[in-house]
């Protein structure tokens, strides 16, 4: 796009470029193994579902406080993405999933033997502050003037949405079916949607930007969060200690504070 003529005074550019490329390529090729090898002695790697970001960051800090010299490295992503990373051999010590389905995938990939449910979550209606469309019940979501945003059936939160709708004999017509619960929340936060179906914990985290409307039908569809120390963990003892922290009184207190229900 720049129409500058090549300047004759720069003979080194030619050699620099390939060298740069080689460095980038080398870094890309050795990146994965390099970091683990260097960090292995003192680092505990925890793969956790995106919805656990707040709670597990806190728990990671507590764990570090209780284990001087140990660093907890947290990797947050969608449970399905984490499960496929584990399937592809990503090095990790602990896996905490937002649903049992993706934990089963890790079991099928022989990365997990036993898992334990440490929390559960239910759906809640999120509305913008002031509730402009006056949504009070689940049935209100079917009113034609309510701009409803839900998770697509393919997403975990969408499967829960479908179950809730089926149990209540309702059928939702959404203006958008998002691929993640955070996208649903975003559309409610910026006021584009009048209502969205998200998890209780999402509403709690977005306090001030959205208001939660509880509906009784939610208790029929409970999403369970399992956690496991990986079979090939580099730090098996620490991994089990972290799992115990999450399952124990301290972990449960932190999770309850964020709106998670007991397993």
């Amino acid at each position: 796009m720049t129409r500058r003529r090549p300047r004759p005074g720069h003979p080194r550019t030619g050699a620099l470029l390939p060298a740069l490329f080689a460095v980038i390529l080398l870094a890309a090729l050795t990146g994965c193994s390099g970091t683990t090898a260097a960090a292995a002695p003192t680092t505990l790697t925890v793969f956790a579902a995106a919805s656990l970001k707040q709670t597990f960051t806190t728990l990671g800090q507590r764990f570090e406080a209780g284990h001087p010299g140990i660093r907890v490295r947290l990797s947050f992503a969608g449970s399905a993405d984490l499960a496929s990373q584990l399937d592809q051999g990503a090095p990790a010590d602990v896996f905490a999933s937002a649903d049992t389905k993706n934990m089963d995938k890790a079991v099928a990939a022989k990365r997990v033997q036993r898992s334990a449910v440490f929390a559960s979550n239910t759906l809640q209606i999120a509305v913008p502050p002031g509730n402009p469309a006056h949504v009070r019940t689940l049935a209100d979501l079917t009113r034609p003037e309510v701009r409803l945003v839900i998770c697509a059936p393919a997403a975990p939160c969408g499967a829960a949405t479908q179950q809730v709708a089926a149990a209540a004999h309702l059928s939702f017509t959404a203006v958008s079916e998002e691929s993640s619960v955070t996208d649903v929340l975003g559309k409610v936060e910026n006021g584009e949607a009048d209502a969205g179906l998200v998890y209780v914990t999402d509403v709690r985290q977005a306090a001030g930007k959205v208001t939660g409307v509880t509906f009784p039908e939610a208790s029929g569809v409970v999403n369970r969060y399992p956690i496991a120390a990986l079979t090939d963990a580099a730090q098996p003892v620490l991994a089990q200690q972290f799992v115990d922290l999450v399952l124990g009184a301290e972990g449960q207190k932190v999770l309850a504070g964020a709106g998670f229900a007991k397993p």
Binding site: F21, G78, A80, A152, A155, E177, S179, G191
Partner: protein
């Protein structure tokens, strides 16, 4: 010189080959003809064509103004017009939302007029046009600046009116630049993801284009995601191929 060139090509081609190796070929026809795949493909082609037309209608005048006139603040304007080129598409989507969304700059006015843009196919076309327009402008402006200026002067001295000069002299000589700009804009529209997801939402047949469908299916049905990705690559190859052939033709 050859080694880095080979490395560069390998770096670009290997992922495509890897993708091809993951396509579940026996199920490929069924996967790409499923309801959701067909709806996404059709929507992607329709919206990309629409946004390419929008880019042409708006982009050609902008490029002409930038290349053939000079006025105060022109350099600043050129920089600003190209901003979407480097902006992460998600940011572009947010910017559109803050402009045309319900609580956006024009939201209230639009609501009074009874126009709702978010969650509609129009929003998809707008998101695509926003990210694709700079490609057309920059490509055409570059060509305009390098060719045609003198020919236009000659045409004018021979008594051609400005419109005649534009249609008979300027446009024919910048055709290669216009064509590659158009192809780039179409390709960019076809691949648009972030701005669409942020601004338009995701609903089958309305706003869920091919990239959004791939993103959605990668969790539950990776096979379908891979198959659709391969279709997207095929379209890209065909489009670029056509552009190159028309360009090299005498």
């Amino acid at each position: 010189m050859l080694v880095p060139a080979a490395l560069g090509c390998l770096f670009l081609l290997l992922p495509l080959l890897a993708m091809g190796s993951r396509v579940p070929w026996p199920r490929f026809p069924a996967l790409v003809t499923s309801d959701s795949s067909r709806a996404a493909l059709l929507l992607s082609l329709q919206t990309s064509l629409a946004s390419t037309v929008v880019c042409l209608l708006v982009g050609v005048p902008v490029a002409l103004v930038l290349a053939r006139t000079s006025f105060a603040g022109q350099r600043l304007l050129r920089v600003l017009v190209l901003v979407p080129l480097v902006l992460p598409p998600v940011v572009g989507g947010l910017a559109l939302l803050y402009t045309f969304g319900r609580r956006g700059l024009l939201g209230h006015t639009l609501e009074l007029l009874g126009v709702q843009i978010a969650f509609s196919t129009v929003a998809v076309v707008m998101a695509q046009s926003f990210v694709a327009l700079p490609f057309l402008i920059t490509s055409l402006e570059g060509t305009l600046r390098s060719v045609g200026g003198r020919l236009e002067v000659v045409a004018a001295t021979l008594g051609a009116r400005p419109t005649t000069t534009l249609l008979r002299v300027t446009l024919p000589v910048v055709m290669p630049g216009l064509l590659s700009g158009t192809v780039l804009a179409f390709a960019r529209s076809l691949g648009e993801f972030g701005a669409t997801l942020t601004f338009a939402g995701s609903l089958q047949g309305v706003t869920r284009t091919l990239p959004l469908e791939i993103y959605l299916q990668r969790e539950t049905d990776p096979d379908e995601a891979v198959a659709m990705s391969f279709v997207l690559i095929l379209i890209a190859v065909v489009v670029i191929g056509i552009a190159q052939r028309t360009r090299t033709r005498p």
